[in-house]
């Protein structure tokens, strides 16, 4: 069979904020860039981000990038790499101003400046008064950013492969990554996209949990591709549960609601966050608020007839603020709960939201792996950015408003490094046929007919295993059982079949291949969680309730081969300022 082959300088897999920001930087520098996405770009999940993007613009209250850095490190429960965090917080104002110039319709202050709201975990003066650092376009900031970035890429004539599904990376003997084997969803035709550099920007893997805020397409495709190419995943045990998903359904209700002054109440009508975080209250870090809600419910102080959720009250904000600053939330609440938040509080529950972990990179977006004595050796030609990556700026717990920042800063940084790489690597390397064949094998595997389990029930079981065995509170015993169950599921997935074997827009095949990716990400998450014998940030071990800096101030690395764990040190040395040593975390 003759394979279609296309050649580019730079390939980007994923067309969310990280991919599109990188693509724009590359197109503007006249590199030949291709963006491959399994959905039309504006359908990427960045579109669902609500509250905003953090940058110390000081438009509303005094602020500095250094305070932002402190908050991010504290929020990360000291697991974040301080050089990357410094870099991100310093770059934040610049990337936000750039967005404004790209046309993002930010909400405005009376003086015409960008509107900023308070968000969780933000402070002035290294832990003192609440800050207002989150730049917002009402409660549709992700939509505003994604659409503007796509529009700018249209202007820059970036080449898009819309609705192409990436199967696996192409890697040669010397370890260079040389592009990807994909297929066109419309025709089912495989295609080789050769590139001198490949950036993975495929987002998170929230679909490994039953109740989540994520799109159905967030199946960790890039993370799984990296695993299969021999790259370990970093810190996958750190899964953020967002405190306010719509109870029973999972849709996200932005932290911006609490940023604007909304608060949580339990079944006794008490503002219980005052007990857990006397100073920051409802604007404590997400891990803290999610755990508090889980405890309230566990101790019988939930709301509703099953006492299985708490309420988010914003009635006191008034019609004006809700209509102007939180219109999307109101719309969603009315659609999914039949409740107008102007009149009644909303039922919420902690919901799987974000993967802090991912493909290990340095602050230039280069994918780095341990080689002999070096914990961080770059994989030539391979980059990652956004939720798929782990720089790590979020450590054990991400602050709200830092994910949109992460995708912009590191999408841009990766593109800049790619431009340097291209100067020194002017020619395409020979294509290793064996690697291509291996990827094609993954595609043809689903042509298998005959008896076998169907995909959807297996997916449902996988998600249930993760929820039951790797949720907000974790113990060794329950997780070990989870690992065993996942191993059995993995074998069953190997024998699964689909019934649709046609070529045109075969969604059954896509879902099957997504399930394989979910499986790899789930195993990475469960094994990493079982390995870490301490409680830090979003990772709460009932059997190891304290943070243990002596043994565990280090990053986990999970390899697919043998499901094995390895570790590497946290980069505690910032670029220019003094290190923030670990302290007890109080809000």
């Amino acid at each position: 069979m003759k394979l279609t082959t296309r050649k580019f300088d730079a390939l980007i897999i994923g067309a969310g904020g990280a991919g599109l920001r990188a693509a724009l930087q590359l197109s503007n520098a006249d590199a030949r860039v291709a963006v491959v996405s399994k959905v039309f770009p504006t359908r990427s999940h960045t579109v669902a981000a609500q509250g905003g993007v953090n940058a110390a613009l000081a438009n509303v209250l005094p602020d500095s990038w250094h305070w932002h850095m402190f908050d991010t490190i504290k929020g990360s429960d000291y697991l974040g790499d301080q050089d990357a965090i410094e870099y991100m917080c310093r770059a934040a104002p610049k990337v936000v101003y750039e967005l404004e110039h790209f046309g993002v319709p930010f909400s405005r202050l009376d003086n015409g400046g960008i509107y900023q709201r308070a968000f969780g975990g933000q402070s002035q003066n290294f832990g003192k008064e609440q800050a207002a650092r989150t730049c917002a376009a009402a409660d549709r900031t992700g939509h505003a950013i994604l659409h503007s970035l796509y529009q700018q890429n249209l202007r820059a004539r970036t080449h898009f492969f819309d609705e192409y599904f990436a199967i696996d990376l192409i890697k040669d003997e010397a370890g260079y990554v040389l592009g990807v084997v994909a297929f066109e969803i419309l025709s089912g035709e495989p295609i080789v996209i050769e590139a001198k550099t490949t950036l993975i920007a495929t987002g998170g893997a929230g679909q490994i949990f039953r109740t989540n805020t994520n799109a159905l397409s967030n199946t960790g495709d890039g993370m799984a591709m990296a695993l299969r190419a021999g790259v370990p995943l970093e810190d996958m045990e750190f899964v953020q549960f967002h405190p306010t998903g719509i109870a029973g359904r999972g849709m996200l209700i932005t932290e911006g609601v609490r940023g604007e002054g909304g608060f949580l109440i339990n079944g006794e009508g008490e503002r219980f966050m005052e007990r857990y975080a006397p100073q920051a209250k409802d604007l404590a870090s997400r891990d803290v608020v999610s755990r508090a809600i889980a405890i309230e419910i566990r101790e019988g102080r939930g709301c509703g007839k099953n006492k299985d959720h708490v309420l988010l009250d914003m009635r006191h904000l008034g019609t004006d603020t809700i209509m102007k600053k939180l219109p999307g939330i109101r719309e969603m609440s009315m659609t999914f709960l039949g409740v107008d938040p102007i009149e009644k509080p909303i039922a919420v529950f902690p919901t799987c939201h974000y993967s802090m972990g991912g493909i290990p990179t340095n602050r230039d977006g280069q994918v780095v792996v341990p080689v002999k004595d070096t914990p961080e050796d770059p994989v030539p030609g391979l980059y990652a950015a956004g939720e798929a990556a782990c720089v790590s700026v979020h450590g054990a717990n991400r602050l709200g408003g830092n994910s949109l920042l992460d995708i912009l800063v590191f999408g841009r940084a990766a593109a800049n490094h790619i431009l340097d790489f291209l100067k020194e690597n002017r020619y395409h390397r020979p294509l290793p046929q064996a690697s291509v064949d291996q990827a094609l094998e993954r595609l043809s595997r689903w042509e298998r007919k005959g008896d076998g389990e169907a995909v959807e029930p297996l997916r449902r079981e996988l998600r249930k295993v993760m929820e039951d065995h790797c949720g907000v509170f974790r113990t060794a015993e329950v997780m070990q059982e989870g690992v065993d169950k996942l191993r059995v599921l993995r074998e069953r997935i190997e024998n699964a079949v689909i019934r649709d074997h046609t070529q045109t827009f075969n969604t059954a095949r896509i879902e099957a291949m997504e399930l394989e990716n979910l499986m790899d990400c789930a195993m990475a998450t469960m094994c990493s969680a079982l390995g870490r014998e301490e409680s830090r940030g979003a990772h709460s071990r009932v059997d190891f309730p304290e943070r243990d800096d002596e043994r565990w101030l280090k990053h986990s690395l999970y390899s697919l081969l043998d499901d094995s764990m390895d570790y590497k040190p946290v980069r505690t040395q910032p670029v220019t300022v003094e290190s923030f040593p670990p302290k007890k975390r109080v809000y």
């Binding site: 959905v39 039309f40 504006t42 359908r43 999940h45 579109v47 669902a48 613009l57 936000v96 101003y97 404004e100 110039h101 790209f102 046309g103 319709p105 930010f106 909400s107 405005r108 202050l109 009376d110 003086n111 015409g112 400046g113 960008i114 376009a137 549709r140 939509h143 505003a144 659409h147 503007s148 529009q151 700018q152 249209l154 202007r155 419309l186 799109a215 159905l216 397409s217 359904r249 849709m251 719309e331 969603m332 659609t335 999914f336 039949g338 169907a454 995909v455 959807e456 029930p457 689909i498 019934r499 649709d500 046609t502 070529q503 045109t504 827009f505 075969n506 969604t507 059954a508 879902e511």
Partner: protein, 233 residues
Amino acid sequence: MEFSIYRFNPDTDSAPYMQSFTLPDDQVEPGMMLLDALLLLKEQDDSLGFRRSCQHGVCGSDGMNVNGTNGLACIMPLANLKAPVVLRPFPGMPVIRDLIVDMDNFYRQYREAEPWLINDSPEPEVERLQSPEDRDRLDGLYECILCGCCSASCPSYWWNPDRFLGPAALLQAARFIEDSRDQATEHRLERLDDAYRLYRCHGIMNCTQVCPKGLNPSKAIGDIRRTMIKRSV
């Protein structure tokens, strides 16, 4: 609950047909959306094709024709739908397979509207200022999710999809004409001043009626026309 769903797979079918599906009562839950039902029906037959992603009406993937009206499956409560629920692909767009349509022309018309901010003055090192009142003029314009419900319900777009931009693209045009930071208003109006591109809109208002985000392309088109008239006198 009964469904009647448009099926067509070019690999195996010579002509499209309607297929009946039944969602057992014990699978119907209160608060369920049409998309939830479709995902369950897909378990009965994994060859059933439709696009979907975010599940809460922001990505714009799952636009389709439901009981004769275009909408997003993920935010249509099942309880509001009359059974048998008749599902068809968007009218006026080429069918790829089942409920999946070819949206290339829709995207091409979007690009024709040059939907990007044009401002050639030197870039300040901070944000360009915009008063809250000027920003308010973008409300109702920038929130479009490109689902296509509007253009696929517009008779003028059905007849002249190659020459009439359609409500979605014109809404984008309005979004940039109204943006106080954009300096290309004159250029934009000139490009639109054409018997087809803008003026094929006959004010039928299907677009406004079906928009799942509650936007009003019809008004936006009217506003562009008014600006156009002001400019010519």
